[in-house]
Symmetry: C2
Subunit: 168 residues, 2 copies
């Protein structure tokens, strides 16, 4: 059997996992988003090898989620900053953090919180309906084929048909 | 250098990546959430080897994000369903899907959308302040140490101090 390539699957989750589904990539993006933007600082913070960090940073630049900005020229040294595309992954990181804080740490052991700067409350990622603005529960949400269709999988097509049936 | 274990890092994102940062795990959770709940159907849908799927399902049950429910006894066959802990990962999947739909597909190629059942609008994950209920922009959010502290990293501690400074 040919192992399918994630970046060729007709699925937004598969293609996103292809970009950030490497464990180190998620942590590098976390560091850069928090303001740890230089090679040596990221390397020390994560404790990974320089070779792996160098490879991952190059791939993240290739994917357009990080950009390099020189802060020194002789020798050349760079800050890594999120692009708009990379910053937009913040919601994925926030959703991971909220889940991890809830399920993998006791309340008194939570290492990091995110606060709304103006009011000081802890923020929480949620799913909202852009029409009514209310938070949605999972049972309120129905998957439907998009304009590109999901015709490459009989199993997914059958699952979506079950969702479209009354009471399904 | 000892490679750090993700599940021992004092970070909710690292520990969450330890649970779902394997590429297949994210896709298996997607399938199960969509209603593709049986081994053979998941295997056909994803096109992965039976050995890898079997290993990943066992790990997901161990992590408490999937539960097995027998639908047949001779031979034993199981449906896999998300637990409450697994269903709560839905926001992570939704955030990935929203990002992938936006950045990795042209509008007319988007394969799957999620609709609010009652009003029919496409749902979108967002970050909200539980106090004011408004959607937050990334620049409105400030990371702060939680009750468990982040004292295992000088780089992270320094980054958080920069956030706490006026104009930082």
């Amino acid at each position: 059997m040919t192992r399918p390539q994630l970046d060729e699957m007709n699925c937004a989750i598969a293609r996103t996992l292809d970009v950030i589904g490497d464990r180190w990539t998620g942590l590098i993006l976390r560091d850069v988003s928090l303001g740890i933007t230089r090679f040596d600082a990221i390397q020390r913070d994560l404790g990974i090898s320089r070779r792996v960090l160098s490879e991952r940073l190059a791939t993240m630049v290739d994917h357009g989620i990080l950009q390099r900005v020189a802060y020194q020229t002789a020798p050349a040294r760079y800050d890594y900053f999120p692009t708009e595309k990379g910053a937009d992954l913040g919601l994925v990181l926030l959703a991971m953090q909220a889940w991890g804080n809830r399920w993998l740490f006791d309340d008194e052991e939570v290492p990091l919180l995110l606060r709304h700067a103006s009011c000081g409350n802890e923020v929480s990622p949620q799913i909202a309906c852009p029409e009514c603005g209310e938070e949605l529960r999972p049972q309120d949400i129905v998957p439907v084929p998009g304009p590109g269709g999901v015709d490459d999988s009989a199993e997914l097509t059958a699952a979506l048909e079950r969702w479209s049936q009354p009471g399904g």
